[in-house]
Symmetry: C2
Subunit: 329 residues, 2 copies
């Protein structure tokens, strides 16, 4: 069996090896992704996000255990987009997951930013595809934080969980960052602490402010209290996750969600390749060199320069269309 | 006087107003930036980065004071790229800068990520241009962290300071993240704590590992111990900053640094506009819609799709060149 067949058979070492390459953005990974692509599209991708310290890792472990009880295979990607200086906590958290580690139908992996600009979100997407192809029914993608990077990563998912805790008081902040808009299930974790009901009330108020969801989506995100100490709410969350996926499929949103994800993935890859192509051209093409010098020497501002190139591309597209029309005649 | 003239005259309210627009990525800002662009290029941009808690804010205040003694006008941009949940500390730190606030030749401003994807680095660049045009001799750009985001922002600067502290032991981590490569001055702050000499030795070792700097650059980053308690090292750092700028100018690197910065700025703007253009086309052009559907339905992988479009662009460029040649004949 080659690597590709081994991954399809769910071989853990092969999955891990390819995800490592994906994390390093190894150029040879592109070939593998092209092969994997047509075999994806079966897994339910679930994003779990929220500020540090609200207990996401424990919650993810508990949820994974609950899904295993329901005979679903599970992949977990724990994403740490923070600076390499603060990467320590994550592995410690992972240790808590060790109770799942004996189960060969659970695959757990941390992904960190390895310094490649904008590469983390691409790596997470590719890693999710690998787990998808390996036959995992559910892929849990845990991100730390609620900034733009997390919103970008959460957008991969079919179902997004926002985890908060009592006394945090940051539901409004989450709304500002745009994460409330894309959260399908709202969770007040550590509900054993005092203030859990107030936190639920606050979330409910913010949800009221926020108005309609995008497009035809009429889903109202349930607000669920949970505690990993006594297992409160875990069954409810697992149920809500599966119910949301049914809703997405029944309403015909699945195709749109997948299409939006793939369009963004394409645009990320395309803009990166266009940068690479441009940097290559600057080195070999004197005309482009002179033009870049004009920007560097402040004779042409970058906004006008960009408009000029976009205009050129528009014209090229129209010319191509015209010439096609003429050929037909 | 219009806004533009007021900024050129150094009017603090006008500067603040335009930077706020820049931070929101207000579309009308583009017009202003186009106007500002030819009046930039006089300021010395200084990036200060390092992990949280090493005392960057105090150090920046002290440095700003030192430069004011030397009769230089100073702008300070404090960048907080972290999630909106953890934005609290920054304003507290800023309070320490209040002693500078009475001085009209110092402009201090915090910039935070407002949820616009990839927008922070663009906002910092534009804000630095605004301070440049307003006549500030030096613009200090302070970022929290040493991840890729910070490296991107530090690349704007002509001179980059990496600040660490005793007992941190993270020089190797900084090297991994690529920040050691671009640091022009290495600082062990809080040198009053024990272990400062060991930290200097560690930095020196890591510097040895790291080998040659990019291109013809023979600058060896000095390692300076500092303490904002007794002012140790502040004069040395200020001196090293000015010396590095002289070196950059003498060696003819200034134009290359500015050109690299502007090329990256152009590419950021261009790739964003190409995304916007593409999303607009998807909505109105049935051909592009069908093509995107193929990616979404997993019939075409995004890497191959990107290669196809790049190939199209290459052909369009060559056709354009050929037709120009033919016209000349």
């Amino acid at each position: 069996m080659n690597l590709f067949e081994k991954i399809k058979a769910g071989d853990i070492c092969s999955i891990a090896r390819l995800i490592s390459k994906v994390e390093r953005r190894d150029p040879e990974v592109i070939k593998a992704i092209k092969e994997i692509y047509p075999h994806c599209g079966n897994a339910h991708l679930i994003g779990i996000t929220g500020p540090p310290g609200v207990g996401k890792s424990c919650l993810v472990s508990e949820l994974a255990g609950k899904f295993r009880e329901k005979n679903r295979t599970v992949g977990i990607l724990a994403v740490d987009p923070s600076s390499p200086f603060s990467g320590g906590a994550l592995l410690g958290d992972r240790a808590r997951m060790i109770e799942l580690a004996g189960d060969k139908d659970v695959f757990i992996r941390s992904l960190a930013s390895r310094g490649a600009s904008g590469g983390l979100s691409a790596a997470v997407s590719d890693a999710a595809d690998i787990l998808d192809m390996s036959g995992k029914d559910l892929v849990l993608i845990e991100t730390v934080g609620v900034g733009q990077g997390e919103v970008d990563i959460a957008r991969l998912a079919h179902t997004v969980l926002l985890v908060l805790m009592p006394g945090y008081g940051d539901a409004l902040q989450a709304m500002k960052a745009g994460i409330m808009e894309i959260a399908d299930i709202l969770i007040v974790n550590k509900a054993d602490l005092s203030g859990a009901d107030e936190a639920v009330a606050e979330l409910s108020t913010v949800q009221g402010f926020q108005g309609m969801r995008e497009g035809q989506d009429k889903w109202v995100a349930p607000i669920i209290k949970s505690s990993t100490l006594d297992g409160e709410g875990i069954e409810d969350i697992a149920g809500a996750v599966l119910k949301h996926f049914e809703y997405v499929k029944e309403q015909g949103f699945l195709r749109k969600k997948n299409r939006d994800r793939r369009t963004n993935q394409f645009l990320d890859i395309f803009t990166q390749q266009i940068r690479d192509e441009f940097m290559r051209l600057v080195k070999v093409d004197a005309g482009i060199q002179r033009w870049v010098d004009k920007i560097g020497d402040l004779e042409l501002d970058p906004y006008s320069a960009s408009e000029q190139v976009i205009e050129l591309l528009r014209n090229a597209r129209e010319q191509e269309r015209d010439s096609r029309k003429r050929t037909r005649k």
